[in-house]
Amino acid sequence: MGELSSATRVARPGVRPATGTPTRRTAARSLTALPVVLRSADVAALARHGGNHAVAAVLAARSPVAPAPARPNRPVVQRTPETDVIAALDDKGWVFNRDGDFTTAWRILNGLSMTDMLTTMLALARAGRLRALTDHLDAARGLDVNRLTVGFTAVRLQLAGQTDDPAKVAALAPLIGPIGAQVAEVETFLAAPRGLLATDSRVGITSPDAAAASTIRSVLEPAAAGGVVNAAAQPWDGAPANPRSATNRTALKTALTNALEQHLRRAMPRARQTDAAVKAPVTSFEGAGLAAKQVVDQTFSEATGQAAVTAGQHASQAAFRFRAGTELLDLTNPAHYTPDPTDVAGWMAETDPAAARASAAHHFEATRSPEEKTFLATEVVAPFVAAHNADLAIYDKTSFAITIGRQIRMVPALFGDTAAPATGGPSPAERAARWDWWQTLVHEYIHTLEHSGFSGASRGRRVLIEGFCELFTREVLRAAIPRARAGDRAIQAQVEGTDARGRVFPGFSAALVHDYSSGMYTDYLANVDRLVGVTSLAAAKAAFFQGHVELVGLTPAGAVAAPAAVGTDDVVTVPPGITSVLGLAVAMGSTTATIVAANPPMTAASVPVGSVHVPGARRHTVVASTEKDVRGIVTDTRTETPDQIARQHGISVEALRRANPGLAWPTAPVGTVVRIPVH
């Protein structure tokens, strides 16, 4: 909440009612005539009658800088968010803000939790001050306008007594999605049943057909993952069976060594510069990690909140942060990392484009056989390391981020102006480094949200693990970067820190926040974009965050699933006990006419059996999340609950139960296919 949190809050039960409306005269002349505790209405009335100066005088008299000695019955001014908003609305200038400082008013509301924002808006509405504010929504530019709109729309529904009108409440639905887990707070405010405001996260998802399955299969093949591969699977031309083996080996060794030499020659100037650069303490990047977590959670909390996770997984996700010394380590600190010239040389041989071309020309794959691996290690890498050991050590410790699990070894080097500014805060160089790492840590944090069902299906395939993670990184950063550049104080405060009074440091420049780039994940992302093109982004989210890998055409074990027949997504089995089309229609939220029309030669008098088309209905496969120890032994499992399933599809639990009579909730086993009624 930054500087806005300086307002003193007093618990509502302590608020005493005002004893009367002060007149302009009494307010101006006698502060002691004011009630002991001022409510927002009191301040508003004081402002109306006595003007801003009267309010300012009251507030100044109670300034925390010079606290007055406590006396019985001494007036205590209670600053609350609504008094702050009203003060801003009444802050009318001669030239600017002639109708009030709406920008500050919106900023105060924007900085509140959803519950506090709703309560404050309700108070403002009851004081007759909300309308003027919403008429100036343009003053909220750069803030979370969607969230603010949810707030005042919900307040209007509440005041109009329309919270039990599904049609009116449904009007909120288009706004609800982007506010994530705050939906629950809105529902509580409206006293609406849980699920009423849930958005349907499965809109537009269809089961992958044969053509889609073909694309998915190609995405999962290494050749489609951006790597240089021996597509024809020809044997290495340096294998002993080849009559020109010796000649070919020599040629390959020369080509690879030249590629490594060139690579290192190009890399060393920057590596030496980094090695000599000032290093920031890794602790200074913890704020960037918090900001990364915040923007990701804002985007995906609805998806993760609807996922089945164990209690342990839920707790660790909620508590996760990038901590120096555990999740964030310094690659240049010998206590955290020992440079490994052999490893970096092996990485160069694997990834350098010229080296990859040379390998392809000789049909060489180091990971294919012990013979090829030994050749690379002993004939190419070992001599290269012996000749360039010192440079490779510098290159290794200065030029990479090395991630093992969720532990990141980073290079906290600072480039540019490292002088601490007179106005306080980080140096320009440190500022730039923190914003740079903020983007990287968005990607790394998203990894921590990967559902165990997705992990099981990805089977270590980087195109899935990194490609999906970068897909969502792109979504987050494309929205968050403009906000950061526009001066979003919440993000800025976390990334750059604040002064002792909680204020962001001056001198922020939008140029500090780089454009989004998928960087080394570009090829993985391109492949996952192809997969999303034949499935959907919603399916990808359900797979990654909720473990519904079937929606992207995978089996739980990671194989490409058998393609679905076209036009069968609305086929459901007739629930047990239902013996009429009318009964089926009621259970599925459909109509007799619709079902009859979709299932010729069915008539309204037919007895539906087996599988039936119910247009608008769909199926849901129950999944679970498992916790495993390092050996793969399952230590805890949590299966999807009816509430989670209902929320994923934007329906009520009652509707879900009605469509699935006889199902043994809440213990429907993994793999159970549940009917999702028309909605």
């Binding site: 164990t310 342990g312 997984q313 707790a315 660790s316 508590a319 996760f320 901590r323 555990t326 999740e327 206590a335 020992t338 490994d340 052999t342 490893d343 970096v344 040389a345 092996g346 990485w347 041989a349 694997e350 180091a366 990971t367 691996k373 690379l376 290690a377 890498v381 070992a382 390391v385 030029s399 990479f400 981020a401 090395i402 991630t403 093992i404 699990g405 969720r406 290079v411 921590t448 990967e450 165990s452 992990s455 270590g460 990194e466 960087g519 080394m520 916790e627 495993k628 120890d629 390092v630 050996r631 793969g632 032994i633 230590t635 805890d636």
Partner: protein, 153 residues
């Protein structure tokens, strides 16, 4: 016993980790450990870690990982082993590609709960100890899939 062997770098004295050692057992066996750090992720799963101090055989200390109050993994970075593990422990029961070394491998003795990741030049990068299991379980385990990602900056 297992922790003492790791601290000394002496695999000749290796005793496998017990299958259900708890945090209390760990505290009793290694009272000098740092306070536990909760809410960490080990191979994507919730875990608590405890760092034990550096020693001759573990120059960067020993990290003990607990999941559901059971010690599931003990990790020693760049252990200083007193003898060639192949000599001490015999031929590995399982050899797999290492995800931590571009040209290295991981040599495993699942029956006594030990895995070493070696660089191509023979240096041991990390030692993992875990409750004993079978080669089939270890081959398919999350631990066998552990890998490092090198991202150019």
């Amino acid at each position: 016993m297992a922790l003492a062997a790791l601290a000394a770098g002496d695999l000749d004295a290796w005793q496998p980790l017990p299958d259900a050692a708890t945090a209390d057992d760990l505290t009793a066996a290694a009272p000098t450990g740092e306070p536990p750090i909760a809410h960490r992720l080990l191979l994507g799963q919730p875990a608590t870690s405890v760092l034990l101090p550096a020693s001759a055989g573990a120059p960067f200390g020993v990290v003990v990982w607990l999941q559901h109050d059971r010690v599931t993994l003990v990790e020693t970075r760049e252990p200083a082993l007193s003898a060639d593990p192949m000599t001490t422990l015999g031929a590995p029961e399982l050899t797999l590609r290492s995800g931590l070394a571009a040209l290295g491998d991981q040599i495993c003795w699942p029956s006594i709960g030990l895995t070493l990741h070696r660089q191509a030049d023979g240096r041991v990068l990390v030692l993992y100890a875990y409750p004993p299991t079978t080669t089939d379980v270890m081959r398919a385990s999350p631990l066998a899939q552990v890998s490092a990602t090198r991202t150019p900056r």
